[in-house]
């Protein structure tokens, strides 16, 4: 289908984008367009105005300096290839490399991705596990939102109307072990189940585990029960199995299902991919 008619405006700065958003209640931001345009073609959304922020170069930078800062317009391909990301938080580089196909990764942006908040998307899962902060700007100024609080529901975030995601900040994770494990949908490559593990280890013992699941549930969610199970434990097979059981129990009836992967299967796979993520993080 063709999208409904809309107006188009290119913003040359974040300020201009914020101003246009404030002036037009029925406007949407266009970044890479890989979530928005399909939704418009299916007429799931019919904005009157598109504000193209894709040419704002200041939002494209990736830099590591005390913390890792990723501009909202960094493409998945750039995130996947970035030496800083690979060094700072390799699970994110890996997750970005598993999104869609090369063409999608060349256009889709990390900011657009998280603002869209598709439940089967990969970045929300790893960003919550990293304890990332989402920086946004609106008409009344800037604010910082913890990734964990950012994703509220299916396609729903903590963004207020008129706010623009500007950058994602990932704290220093040195000394942590991390990995992302994912079962991809065979056609879309979206996550049927994706689990990210970020572990603080003292020898064989887990000081702290941050475990997050995406794909199987309405929005990326901390597996707090499993995290509690592993805290202070030696990460042997029994501990992993107990964490998997706790994760499965926590997901419970929240597991989503479809024709490719029914809910009971996805729920069971949360346990498997939790163990795979931890094993992969431990190397």
């Amino acid at each position: 289908m063709y999208p409904a008619k809309f107006d188009y405006y290119r913003a040359n700065s974040v300020e201009e984008a914020v101003k246009l958003l404030a002036e037009n209640s029925d406007a949407k931001l266009l970044a890479g367009g890989h979530s928005l345009i399909p939704a418009m073609k299916l007429r799931l959304t019919q904005p009157a105005l598109l504000i193209d922020i894709g040419k704002i170069d200041s939002l494209k930078n990736i830099k590591a300096n005390g913390s890792l800062e990723i501009g909202a317009l960094a493409t998945h391909a750039r995130v996947a290839a970035s030496a800083d990301v690979k060094k700072w938080f390799p699970a994110l580089a890996n997750a970005a490399s598993l999104i869609g196909d090369q063409q999608v990764r060349n256009f889709g942006t990390i900011g657009g991705n998280i603002a869209h908040a598709d439940p089967a998307s990969d970045p929300p899962t790893v960003l919550i596990a990293a304890g990332a902060t989402i920086h946004v700007r609106g008409a009344s100024g800037t604010r910082a939102i913890a990734a964990e609080d950012f994703f509220v529901d299916l396609f729903t975030t903590a963004l207020e109307p008129g706010e623009v995601v500007t950058k994602i900040e990932i704290p220093n994770l040195s000394g942590r072990k991390s990995a992302y494990a994912k079962m991809s949908h065979p056609a879309s490559r979206y996550a049927i189940v994706g689990v990210c593990a970020v572990l603080s280890m003292e020898g064989d013992t887990c000081k702290e585990a941050r475990l997050v699941v995406g794909g199987a549930v309405a929005h990326a969610t901390r597996l707090s029960e499993a995290e509690a199970v592993l805290k202070g434990k030696k990460l042997d097979a029994a501990a992993l199995k107990a964490a998997a059981d706790a994760a499965i129990a926590q997901v419970g009836d929240d597991a989503m299902g479809d024709i490719t992967a029914p809910a009971d299967y996805r729920r069971a796979m949360v346990g498997q991919y939790l163990q795979r993520a931890i094993q992969s993080a431990l190397g």
Binding site: P186, A187, A244, I248, A249, I259, A261, P262, Y265, A268
Partner: protein
């Protein structure tokens, strides 16, 4: 000079690769109109009334057609049991009833596609719901809703095979195995969704330019529905974007002809992918209860089977498909005692019909499943247990008669084992070598085996013949050779192969050959591109025509024209009581060995390697043969593992390629080793057999065998999706238990 056995470049390659070749959707006329079809909104209902007034009043709408507008409101490839348009007011009994969601109710013709679609949504149809039935076993019960007159218990056909003496047979068996096998729907998923254009040609003929598999059959069905003499109907196939049996039955042919006939203007239609998946037939889901017995030495003594296939709302080719399954369910083996009952049953589901293999894959899934289970129960090598039982020229087939000469399944099985690298031959015995296991404890590898046979050409007494014409033009020397032939080029390369064979038969280089093809106005009936028949049938027709033309050339006729109709040896239908018959005139033989890796935690089955040994008689164009083998393997992989069409109360829930998953580059095997064997068929042209279906047949049972080898568990229900595999393994104590 020999062009036979040469991988000449396909004559259609450049046009297709550069995008210049027109497919039906690419053809446009200046004054064309567009059509949209209103399909049934019920699985079983009587249409009380259809109100088209609002649609007709919509600006840009030219006409709306309903059942009253169809001169003879019925069609169907083997029997005319389906209305062209369902609704009241037609003289066809029962035409006011819809029996499945793919029934057509009304046609809207408008200036644009958008207008036609908008107006279609304004048509009001009043339905009176009828009780519906979606399970063939339920449909066969007393008191089940009956879909068609004269079809009690909805049994469209029932075949029997009664061979030997079942009373004493089981007592001779040292080992008896039983199983219940369930195969699934499969969507053809050809690249090009249904499309076409209907118009009146320069000579006043109702003409349909469309994608199909048999021009002359389409012509007949259009003529029947429009009550026109055959010669006033013309069917043309441009390039066809894949078929696989999915274009054997009508889709847009009759409705386009009807609209063009009524309006005297070109009318075009293009189905969306969603329409294509929802509204053309599927491969039959078939349930098979089987029991096989053998002596300690592996020799089969008896088998029995009950085969039930869901035909859906209309017959399509179900009687023929299930006829094939009835025989294929016994495999390519000599079995002295057999008892088989096979049913095709009407339900209110989507109709089922032709699809590569034509009932053979479902039969092979059970037959090979039983043989592999017998091998396991006997502690015999799966190759060895076959060698004891395989058919030869001297043995009787399950239908009680000898096979056509040239039975080569024995050497095909042995070659497959030898070429696979998984077996070694010691003296005259085949032994399996152990397969290396991955370090990851979640991953288990296994190797599986299966073999099969597939008929070439129409079976069971169906009229079978093929026309071909060769014209030799020139004076002192041959300037060009024109071949006229109706074979549909559906992507399989038949036009290239026909030109190769024509050049060879006349003795000229291929550059001198011109082909006039696939137009009922200029070619005689060649039959369908189906049943792996066209190389065999066209080759023999062309040889016959060339012989006549070459003689006439010598006699100085200019142009020298040879017209020839090839008729293969006659076949006979099943005896209704015993099943005795001479079902086919030729076969191809195939064996496959696969290696899979099963993830026992997630249920993913990764098809790593496939060795397919195929007796093709003679590979006229080896590159095309290899393409067919690899294509069949990948399509069968989809059928076996991925393709999961969900039908709920007759409605298809996943009519998109995002939800109906077919294999992509991410999924296909790392290696398909095509072993092309050339044991000549005694009556095939240059020895060629048909081969395009047979590599499909053994793959699913070979994969099931490999999963058993990897895990110790038999899974007898397709498709082998991750959730099904992981659940079955866990029920059997494999993998990690979870709540």
């Amino acid at each position: 000079m020999s062009l036979i056995g040469k991988s000449v470049i396909r004559t259609d390659a450049v046009g297709k690769v550069t995008g210049k070749t027109p497919y039906p959707s690419d053809v446009n006329f200046e004054d064309q109109l567009w059509m949209k079809i209103l399909f049934s909104a019920r699985s079983h209902a009587r249409i009380v009334s259809i109100d088209t007034s609002e649609a007709l009043a919509y600006p840009g709408v030219i006409a709306v057609f309903t059942a009253v507008d169809v001169p003879q409101n019925s069609y169907g490839l083997i029997m005319p049991d389906q209305p062209v348009l369902c609704g009241p007011g037609s003289d066809q009994a029962g035409a006011d009833i819809v029996r499945c969601y793919m029934d057509n109710v009304a046609l809207v013709v408008a200036e644009t596609e958008e207008i036609a679609a908008a107006a279609r949504d304004l048509i009001k149809v009043e339905y009176e719901d009828l009780p519906a039935v979606y399970d063939p076993y339920e449909a066969m019960k007393d008191g089940a809703p009956q879909l068609h007159l004269n079809t009690p218990k909805n049994i469209l056909c029932h075949y029997r095979i009664r061979k030997g003496d079942m009373g004493s047979a089981w007592q001779q068996a040292d080992v008896v195995v039983e199983g219940e096998f369930h195969t699934a729907y499969q969507e053809h998923a050809f690249l090009q969704p249904e499309a076409g254009i209907g118009y009146i040609d320069d000579e006043g003929r109702v003409t349909v330019l469309v994608a199909g598999q048999w021009t002359h059959e389409d012509q007949e069905q259009i003529a029947h529905a429009l009550s026109l003499p055959l010669e006033q109907v013309r069917v043309i196939y441009p390039a066809v974007g894949g078929a696989f049996g999915g274009r054997e039955d009508m889709s847009v042919q009759i409705v386009l002809a009807l609209a063009a006939y009524k309006l005297r203007r070109p009318v075009k239609i293009i189905w969306s992918r969603e329409e294509s998946i929802k509204y053309h037939h599927k491969r039959h889901p078939i349930s098979i209860k089987a029991k096989w017995g053998a002596r300690k030495d592996g020799k089969l003594v008896a088998m029995e089977a009950e085969v039930v296939g869901d035909a859906g709302g209309y017959a399509y080719t179900s009687t023929k498909v299930l006829g094939n399954t009835n025989m294929m369910v016994a495999g390519p083996y000599e079995i002295p005692n057999a008892h088989i009952d096979t049913y095709a049953v009407y339900t209110n589901n989507i109709p089922t019909g032709a699809f590569r293999g034509f009932g053979g894959p479902q039969g092979a899934f059970a037959a090979e499943g039983m043989m592999n289970r017998l091998a396991d129960a006997l502690g015999m090598d799966p190759v060895e247990v076959r060698r004891v039982n395989l058919l030869t020229d001297d043995k009787l087939a399950i239908v009680g008669t000898p096979m056509p000469k040239g039975v080569t399944i024995g050497p095909v099985v042995e070659k497959c084992a030898e070429e696979s690298g998984y077996w070694q031959r010691k003296n005259d015995t085949f032994e399996r070598l152990p397969v290396e296991q991955p370090a990851d404890p979640a991953k288990r590898r296994g190797v599986g085996f299966a073999c099969a046979f597939k008929n070439v050409g129409f079976s069971f007494g169906a009229p079978e013949n093929c026309w071909g014409t060769i014209e030799i033009h020139g004076d002192a020397t041959i300037e060009k050779v024109v071949v006229r032939h109706a074979a549909a080029e559906v992507g399989q390369g038949t036009h290239t192969v026909i030109m190769q064979m024509a050049a060879e038969a006349v003795g000229v280089p291929m550059e001198k050959v011109e082909l006039i093809a696939s137009d009922t106005a200029f070619t005689d009936n060649s039959g369908s591109v189906s049943a792996s028949r066209m190389t065999f049938m066209a080759g023999n027709a062309i040889r016959g025509a060339a012989e006549i033309a070459v003689q006439k050339w010598k006699d100085e006729d200019r142009p020298a024209v040879g017209v020839y109709q090839y008729r293969p040896p006659k076949t006979t239908p099943y005896d209704p009581k015993t099943g005795r018959s001479e079902p086919n005139f030729a076969y191809g033989y195939v064996a496959q060995i696969v290696e899979v890796e099963v993830d026992i935690e997630t249920g993913h089955v990764d098809l790593i390697r496939v060795i397919s040994a195929n007796d093709v008689g003679r590979a006229v164009n080896p590159q095309q043969v290899k393409g067919q083998i690899e294509g069949a393997v990948v399509q069968a992989q989809g059928y076996a593992i991925m393709e999961n069409l969900i039908s709920m109360e007759g409605r298809i829930l996943n009519p998109y390629l995002s939800t109906y998953l077919i294999p992509t580059v991410y999924d296909i095997p790392k290696e398909v080793k095509s072993v092309i064997l050339e044991y000549a068929d005694p009556i095939g042209p240059w020895g060629a057999r048909g081969m395009a279906e047979m590599p499909f047949l053994p793959l699913a049972p070979a994969i099931a065998d490999a999963i058993h080898d990897a895990t110790g568990i038999w899974i007898d229900r397709l498709p082998l999706t991750p959730d099904r595999v992981v659940k079955t393994l866990r029920e059997n104590g494999i993998g990690v238990a979870f709540s």
